[in-house]
């Protein structure tokens, strides 16, 4: 089994000098290729902080994140940005898309940053938007799409860069249950068909039920991890 994410002993303290907030406490996290894992916990439990650290958007106060064998804390800022571009796909809770670009341009944009040739970009944009069910919305601007459709474009874009894994921070938080279910269907399908690793946070039980592994955070600590429970049982 190939290791994709290996996070060691991660802690994050905000405002260490004034009123310290221990957002993440001594977390160990190990993800293999192909996982479809949910990071679960109440609001304020540290899900966003942990995902940001794993995604190289924020530095931990302590600990080490190794992605595909690369310790990302050793990267210089611009190297880290490039590393994200080529290795990590992001889906945020909202405001994922560039408002002035169409759905297909939004998906193409990330491949343009990667300097992929035009033919490849065009082909992949078509494929991905078809597989998220938006073939008829190629030229729609984000404000012409529903929230669920926007999140599907964001998933397509995250896949477009062919990342090692995709981090999705509460991707369904702003969606109605039907759109949320559709998005989860698509993410599952992509996970199966494209063999992409997903790590997504949520506190929605219907979403949690779809995950193959569930990691529960409480007060910045891992309270339970279904992978370990399975092994124990």
């Amino acid at each position: 089994m190939q290791t994709v994410i290996d996070a060691h002993n991660i802690s994050k303290v905000y405002n260490p000098d004034t009123i310290p907030v221990h957002a993440v406490n001594n977390v160990h996290l190990h993800l293999n290729r192909g996982e479809f894992t949910a990071l679960v916990g109440p609001s304020g439990s540290g899900k966003t902080t942990l995902l940001n650290i794993i995604g190289g958007l924020d530095a931990p106060s302590e600990g080490q994140v190794v992605i595909n064998g690369v310790d990302i804390s050793n990267l210089k800022p611009n190297q880290l940005i490039d590393f994200r571009l080529h290795n990590i796909g992001f889906v945020f809770q909202a405001f994922n898309l560039i408002p002035v670009l169409t759905a297909s341009e939004n998906v193409e944009f990330i491949m343009l940053l990667q300097k992929k040739p035009k033919a490849e970009r065009n082909k992949r944009v078509q494929e991905l938007l078809a597989s998220v069910g938006l073939s008829d919305k190629l030229d729609a601007r984000p404000n012409q799409l529903s929230g669920g459709q926007q999140q599907r474009v964001a998933v397509a874009r995250a896949l477009a860069s062919r990342p090692q894994f995709i981090l999705a921070d509460e991707p369904t938080a702003n969606l109605d249950s039907h759109s949320a279910a559709t998005l989860l269907d698509i993410m599952e399908k992509m996970n199966r068909e494209e063999d992409v690793t997903f790590l997504f946070s949520t506190h929605d039980q219907r979403v949690i039920d779809r995950a193959r592994r569930v990691i529960t955070l409480v007060d910045g600590r891992i309270e339970s991890d279904s992978a370990e429970t399975q092994i124990k049982h």
Binding site: L57, V100, I110, L113
Partner: protein, 404 residues
Amino acid sequence: MLLKLAWRNIWRNRNRSLITMSAIASAVLLAVATVSLQQGVWGHLIKNLVSLYTGYAQVHAKGYWEEQTLENSFEIDKAVEQQVAGTAGVNAIAHRLESFALASSGDKTRGCLVVGINPSEEERLTQLSQKIQSGHMLKSDQDGALVAEGLAEKLDLKLGDTLVLLTQSFYGSTAAMKTPIRGLLHFGSPDLNNQIAYIPINRAQYWLDASGRATSLVVGLERPENLPAVARSLKNSLPKTFEALTWKEMMPEINQHIEADSAGMYIMLGVLYLLIAFGIFSTLLMMLAERQREFGMLNALGMQPWSIARVVLAETVFLTLCGSLAGLLLSYPLVWYLAEHPIQLGGDMAEIYAKFGFEAIFPATIKAKIFIDQTLVVLIVGLVLAIYPVWRVLRLNAVEAMRH
């Protein structure tokens, strides 16, 4: 794609961009019109002034302008003449032999300036014949004088009467001459009108015992803009015994006046551009504030801050360029109109101008340089203002930006 992105971002808030652009456009319009008018007016005035008498530049024996005596005259030299005439930008030259003299008739006596000229050269340079009120132009091989009206009146002389001139010759002896008046001249400038008289240069040389000599070589230009280059080349290439002076050096008061006027105008334009700068800057600030989250998202995805900054820069350039191009498109017809239909003044100004024989008209000048300069100024203002948003983008923190 980055350019496409920048272009579309401008139109994201269409009204704000249009307002900013129209502010820029009106500033450019105002600036171009003001500068064109100012340069046109002064150019017109200078042209009038120099074609009256001095020419754009003059070559003398060294020291003549300081002390205008025959002792400071020079021997006409073909080589020097050819060198001056052959200088790039020079389109006419004329030798003059000038001397102050006493003019008399009956019991009346007046001081006057007698100018020995080569009639055809002088005609090319100062259109002397157009100032003739009665009579006709001098001929170089014929005795005779052209006398300014004011001078003739004071001496009670009419066309065809005889003018008597008395002065000191080149060698210091007394020199006298009698010559018939062939024509009466009108000059707007009272100075010239009350004291100038022209005779052919060969008669002047004979009269003054200064055979082959001249006091000045007047230089006419094809295009006034070439003056600095012509002056430089004359100053560098003429033998050390000569001096080359531009009208600015011969009439420093007028030049100072023009420079003071230009300075005033540039201060006004500076204030105008400052106002525009505030407008552009506030647009950039609003744009920056409302797009924090987007910039954070782009950076999180893997876009280098410098690339994001380039988009911001391109947006600033588009904004200012569209505005200034619109300003240019509007200003061209306006300036063209002001050039073709000069503003005409009445009242005191018109009187002052009339005194000098100038029409009080204010034509604008159409110069590509003015248009280009104003566009560049706005563009540079825009780029300087863009430094702040660019700096903010370069020190962007993705997580913080996305929390906005």
